[in-house]
């Protein structure tokens, strides 16, 4: 009898109202939203509102003008190519930094972030000096008939420069976390080294590599400073899309500039969603927190 009464659970207090012990929620969230709206969201909305003043036919004529279309082809084509080059060589560099020991490794690891830290205008004039006809690298390419500076190829070189750290820094932590056991298991099961890479390492690495590729691409599409010095900016040949916006602005054609900006913003937002998805995939595949 007594034990039975003891076993009767104490009446549970009804769930307490959710208490916030820490102060400052309203203040900090309010400030965050106000600051974000005033400096980012409302000004960005101006692009869409300004574009909405155009009729659809006017908008279409501006964003599909031959010179503008040529700039999309150059910007997107070269950004894709640059991101692909970075995916290959960035993976190799990350691999070397994680797996091999060699002199100067710490210094090289630190310098990988140079494109983040170096102002784009500085990168632009430095690359132009290197790849000009009499430059350190340009003088060797000139006899081969390869011209880089002031040609579309120059755009590619600049975009490879600014995109490299994105691939290295997204792949590197995944490589560092990789368990040696996985490769030992595959070796003991008779896998060749390249088979282990292809079937064991690559599937783990792939989402991160793709994320790095997408980040490098997204950065490259919008890049301006490092490109305009080396591109030569020849209409229909080596003009990038951000330069088209600047050109229209310099002619006080605000509507034209804004219409092209709308196209670029739509692409950026699509890429942002894609990258968020890819990062979620990476953390799911590797069990890492972002």
């Amino acid at each position: 009898m007594n034990t039975a009464t003891l076993a009767t659970p104490l009446p549970r207090p009804s769930a307490p109202p959710r208490l916030r012990v820490l102060p400052g929620f309203r203040l900090t969230l309010g400030y965050t939203l106000a600051y974000l709206s005033l400096l980012v969201l409302i000004p960005l909305a101006a692009v869409f509102l300004k574009t909405a003043e155009l009729s659809f036919a006017e908008f279409r004529d501006i964003v599909t003008a031959p010179r503008v279309v040529a700039s999309y082809k150059l910007s997107f084509g070269m950004s894709l190519l640059a991101a692909a080059i970075n995916a290959v060589f960035g993976l190799m560099l990350a691999w070397a930094l994680v797996r091999y020991s060699f002199p100067g490794k710490k210094l090289i690891d630190a310098l990988v972030d140079l494109p983040f830290a170096l102002p784009t205008a500085v990168a632009g004039i430095a690359l132009t000096a290197l790849y000009a006809k009499n430059g350190w690298i340009g003088q060797f390419l000139e006899p081969l008939g390869i011209q880089v500076a002031f040609k579309p190829l120059g755009v590619l070189v600049a975009l490879v420069f600014i995109g490299l750290p994105f691939v290295v820094r997204t792949v590197q932590p995944i490589l560092e976390d990789l368990d040696t056991e996985l490769e030992e298991a595959s070796a003991s099961l008779g896998a060749q080294r390249w088979q282990a890479f292809r079937h064991v390492i690559m599937p783990i690495l792939f989402p991160a590599l793709l994320t790095g590729f997408a980040l490098a691409f997204a950065r490259a599409v919008g890049e301006y400073g490092s490109v305009i010095f080396i591109a030569g900016n020849i209409p229909m040949v080596s003009e990038i899309t951000p330069l088209m916006i600047i050109t229209k602005l310099e002619q006080y054609d605000y509507t034209g500039a804004t219409a092209i900006a709308t196209v670029m913003l739509a692409l950026s937002f699509a890429l942002l969603l894609l990258i968020n998805g890819l990062q979620a995939w990476t953390s799911k595949r590797t069990g890492r927190d972002r």
Partner: protein, 302 residues
């Protein structure tokens, strides 16, 4: 978007280890190893190292005298002042914002949190040229506030406030992006204990939260500073390029370069390159310190 720039806690620890080379299963044949290493290092040298060296070599091509006179030119000095001013305003603004955003997001639960984080990241995915354009659309002569500003004799575009705004925009997410994941990982038990023991909000932040996130905060600050001083595209759109008035250092480099004053352009550029190197140096030092703090914490717990 910022995934590639956030503080890597494992970095300093992982570099310099040899666990992969010690075992046959995780080792390539020497030929493959040297091929990968050789290709990677050549790529690094051609695309990263040579541009950096070129800046300094070109800057000193005409000797120290030309170098010094390029830096001491009144236009260069006024560009330097404006660059420092823009960074000195943008940095505290984004610091306060970053701390507020991280506090609200990391210490409280509310609906739409992930969406808010995505919105904070937005400036990273917008082309710098568009970052400048949006303020022209709001504050420019033909913009929303243009007529009102003209009436009150205020100038934002083609003036210093426009440059500051553009700088704030391009550096907007850096500090918030560093602090949010760090403060989320710390949880809120320590802060709650402090509050229960009678500390007020500011005391709690200063004595409990800040010591836990100081390396991440510092990391965000130096990244913000580097980008603020080096921004070109966004600032170029709103500046109007008025010498001695609305020129920042990167814009001054462009003007000199377009006037074929290459040695002077590279001299000013070398100053910015030095800033980048100092930034990378501090960044590496912070990673080192943060990794040690991280390791000590884990050893202390086990």
């Amino acid at each position: 978007m910022a995934g590639a720039t956030t503080l890597r806690l494992g970095a300093a620890h992982a570099i310099g280890q040899t666990r992969f080379e010690a075992r046959a299963a995780t080792r390539e044949t020497p030929l493959v190893k040297w091929l990968i290493l050789g290709t990677a290092l050549t790529f690094f040298a051609v695309f990263l190292l040579m541009p950096l060296i070129a800046v300094f070599v070109e800057a000193l091509r005409k000797g120290w005298e030309t170098y010094a006179s390029a830096l001491l030119d009144p236009d260069a000095l006024s560009a330097l002042r404006l660059t420092l001013l823009a960074a000195a305003i943008a940095l505290p603004l984004n610091l306060v914002f970053g701390v507020c955003a991280a506090w609200a997001i990391a210490k409280f639960e509310f609906r739409g949190k992930h969406f808010l984080i995505t919105l904070i990241d937005l400036p990273f995915s917008v082309s710098p040229v568009i970052a400048g354009l949006i303020y022209v659309l709001v504050f420019g002569a033909q913009g929303w506030l243009g007529p009102w500003l003209a009436e009150h004799d205020l100038k934002v575009i083609f003036a210093v406030p426009g440059i500051v705004l553009a700088t704030v925009f391009v550096t907007f997410p850096f500090i918030a992006r560093e602090l949010i994941p760090l403060m989320q990982a710390q949880g809120k038990e320590e802060e709650e204990a402090a509050v229960v023991l009678g500390a007020n909000g500011l005391q709690t932040f200063w004595h409990v939260t800040l010591p836990n996130v100081k390396w991440g905060l510092l990391y965000g600050v130096i990244l913000t500073n580097a980008r603020a001083m080096g921004e070109f595209g966004a600032v170029s759109v709103v500046s109007g390029h008025i010498r001695g008035e609305t020129n920042t250092l990167p814009l001054h480099v462009e003007i000199l370069y377009n006037e074929y004053q290459f040695a002077a352009a590279f001299a000013v550029a070398s100053l910015l390159a030095l800033l980048a190197l100092v930034t990378l140096g501090i960044k590496t030092w912070i990673e080192h310190r943060a990794a040690h703090a991280h390791q000590d914490l884990h050893e202390g717990q086990s």
